[in-house]
Symmetry: C2
Subunit: 246 residues, 2 copies
């Protein structure tokens, strides 16, 4: 793995690099076992998408930048895979937006929360960023969810108006929509519950999305009406078309 | 996870049960991190296949039963995911065929080999089976492979004529074909290198395949000429058709 990942000419370089990030994160105790399985599902869908950001997904990303830029209380929600794959890029996005991030994980244990918070803190210090990393001390509940997965912070997720939740579970996505928030989802499967539940769905691989979002936040894009179903069907059509022609 | 997996009425019951088996295996040290990612990719393809054994895959499975039944030195090759998902069923197949199994893993470490061999030994004792479990003491090399992944046993994989290698890596699959063996592959992605390399490819989820194989070995099926590309294109067409109609 190590030697393959180091060779950027390898046709699977990017995919192996992401896998390597997850394997390192797993060793640090940042991930649940199901997180790796979820990544594999994503890999298969990205393969079918052609492993590129589609024009449609780029437009959706630009719309996400506009919504986050114009929000009163934007927030970026980070789980284990998100931190492992694009923690750095999303902290840079939060810095550019001047908004907090909140660690919020499905299988919540004190050990995993500590591992994720420490990892983010290290990135923050290295890049000398002035952002708030929430999640250590939840003091509110997301209505409609049960157990530890309902936990959130009152000044973070709970009171946010626009929320970016990449790679999110369908139940939580639905609960956030029910709270009246504008929910921006990133998911490689256009048919997943999260993808269909979100107000704005970017069907793209997370690290490509994060880099594009960082660029788009610094650009000037026009707020447009959009049809989220159209973004989903564009992605679906691409998958069918690629699968048919292989 | 535990409580969901216990409820067989849950629409994702089977999928969650398999995930649970892998998570338990991961905790026992039986799996590399990449094994969970590979399972996730398989899940996505199985979802697109409709999570059922196709008529074409069942015919391929019956052909596998015939080839294994009529082989001089059949063998079943087991890696981490295979042991975790269908170790029991494949030991029963080996018992019915009166053939050995061999543990053979891509990322070979003494700890993982020991965990896998112990797990299989426990199943063997519980079911009171009289089968040989090889792999602990490799004394031969698969030509064309480098490092520990070339290791095999002379009385097992090395001298076999018909080899069942579920969920196998493409390189090893190619190397086994180059040795002149009849290679039977089980893979959910009909476009994978392993699927295209094998002499006979069953595009089906491993536990469904293992149960069907066990049944087919006890039945009388006729040896037929078959076109493996046809099995692959049947699966591919099913995936495209299901994706189109969703």
């Amino acid at each position: 793995m190590g030697e393959i990942a180091a060779d950027s000419s390898h046709p699977r370089y990017k995919s192996l690099l992401l896998r390597h990030r997850l394997e390192k994160a797993a060793k640090k105790g940042m991930l649940a076992a199901s997180a790796l399985i979820a990544h594999g599902r994503g890999e298969a869908f990205d393969y079918l998408l052609g492993e590129v950001t589609t024009a449609s997904a780029l437009i959706a990303t630009q719309q996400a930048a506009i919504r986050l830029n114009s929000a009163k209380r934007p927030i970026i929600c980070l789980n284990g895979n998100v931190v492992a794959l694009a923690g750095k890029e999303l902290l840079l996005v939060a810095d550019a937006l001047n908004c907090p991030v909140e660690v919020n994980i499905f299988y919540r244990t004190p050990e995993r929360m500590a591992a994720l918070l420490n990892h983010l803190q290290a990135i923050k210090e290295k890049l000398n960023l002035d952002i708030e990393i929430l999640g250590a001390n939840p003091d509110a509940k997301i209505p409609g969810l049960e157990g530890p997965r309902a936990n959130c912070t009152s000044k973070g997720i709970f009171s946010s108006d626009v929320i970016l939740v990449p790679l999110e579970d369908g139940d939580r996505c639905e609960a956030l929509v029910a709270m009246g928030k504008f929910v921006i989802v990133v998911d490689l499967n256009p048919l997943s519950r999260s993808a269909r539940m979100g107000d704005l769905t970017i069907v793209d691989e997370l690290t490509r999305f994060a880099e594009n979002l960082l660029t788009a936040i610094g650009e000037s894009h026009t707020l447009q009406d959009f049809d989220n179903d159209r973004f989903l069907s564009d992605a679906h059509n691409r998958i069918v078309s690629n699968a048919t022609n292989q």
